[in-house]
């Protein structure tokens, strides 16, 4: 089994096929979207492929060390970034192909007009332990 991180972006990913901002959807469309995501996560839990997942706030802060004895230096809410993470999910699946298949399913959540959003999700493999056999 191999673990993958699925990243959902607020901003920074290429535009989805059905590109209407969520605040312009009808309330029913928003509900349908959220229901799809929840059902999908529940399905993964039942197959034993779900590891963890969280949504994160759009508000974030850049922080760096200020040097010895100095307080941390912060830089306002993502002043320079083009990329904004909306949430993440970790899955543990048998193959890369399966990870792609699942990401595509999640991307198909319904959006404006009840049509699939087909948004771009970022899929990244976890670094693994070195296998026992290497030479």
């Amino acid at each position: 089994m191999a673990k993958y991180l699925l990243l959902k972006h607020y901003r920074g990913a290429p535009a989805p096929t059905n590109d209407v901002p969520m605040d312009r959807w009808t309330p029913e469309e928003v509900t349908a979207h959220i229901q799809y995501m929840q059902d999908w996560a529940a399905k993964l839990q039942s197959t034993g492929e779900f590891v963890d997942g969280q949504a994160v706030s759009p508000q974030g802060t850049f922080v760096r060390s200020g040097g010895p004895g100095q307080p941390p230096v912060t830089d306002g809410p993502f002043a320079e970034t083009k990329d904004l993470i909306a949430g993440w999910m970790v899955i543990d699946v048998d193959s890369y192909e399966r990870a792609l298949e699942l990401a595509a399913e999640l991307s198909d959540a319904p959006g404006a007009g009840g049509r699939p959003i087909q948004e771009w999700l970022e899929l990244r493999p976890f670094m693994t332990e070195a296998p026992t056999v290497l030479e």
Binding site: M1, K3, Q45, S46, T47, G48, E49, F50, V51, D52, D92, V93, D94, P125, M127, T128, E129, A130, P131, T132, V133, L134, E135
Partner: protein, 382 residues
Amino acid sequence: MNDTLLRELVPAVIGVLVRRGAEFAAAEDAVQEALIRALETWPGDPPRDPKGWLVATAWRKFLDAVRSESARQRRELAVEAEPAPGSVAATDDTLWLYFLCAHPSLSPGTAVALTLRAVGGLTTRQIAAAYLVPEATIAQRISRAKRQLAGLPLDRPGDPGTVLRVLYLVFNEGYGGDVDLAAEAIRLTRQLAAATGDPEAAGLLALMLLHHARRASRTGPGGRLVPLAEQDRSRWDTALIAEGVEILQAALARDRLGEYQAQAAIAALHADAPSAAETDWVQIVEWYDELLGLTGSPVVRLNRAVAIGEADGPRAGLAELDKVDPALPRHQAARAYLLERAGERERAAELYAEAAHLAASLAERDHLTRAAARLRGNSELS
């Protein structure tokens, strides 16, 4: 109380219950409950016959479960129809469980989880910790596996190759929890090899023992990867190596060569050499030829190119490597290594850095990054 001893009894006990008419899933649940009971009571009150105790307790748990679920009349009929507990050949049951857990209808990850639970007797928590996933994830995987197996006719033996592959998968996993999966895989393969007498099972056991013997020397401080050539050979476990070689020789003598025996032969040649320079690379290349004939695997072709680089010089190795698909994992790393040995330090450093980007494990990435830094003269980083 010896946890391992307890676990060794699990497959036989599940087998007895199934033989007496319990469904696999129900038998497995009952044995898990009996194990928990054993952990609670044995330290204060050890049984004279542990296996008998487990069978009796698990059977009682199973009957309790059946009783609580069925009507009085049906229950009475079931008790009436209960066969007399007789002696059952334990090895047959164990083997049957191995095949069941590696059933082709299960995905590899599911087969591994079920094998560790039903044949290995590990708890769901131990398996989850070893794979660094939540307990609920493994619990779902196992109950799903049991559901998938429920409707299938399980009267025919499965493919022995699938069973061996599942055990090899377990062996190759990292070590996350309190259970050492490599040692667990060796324990199970030892059982399987003894029960089947299959030369390939013996070959896999030999392969695992030979790799395990070098385990302590494979990593340095902080989990740092130490390549074979730089390993401290005095730390290799010579008793395990001797055992692995002996098992392998007995298997090879039966003249039914398979991929695990060939891999074990290569591992044995490494283990036999007093130093990296004194390794019998010519013979290793010959075994890679055999292995390639058996598997046709591109990964074998890649490893063979590196071995040719040692036997006939780095240029010969590079020429072989050109015939291998460059998209394979570790292709860049192998080319970098051969280029370095051919004296092309600049190009080798570039490729090491590229390979580090593609590495799938942290230890490997760090190792390759250090190699690139070393060739670029930043030796204080290496």
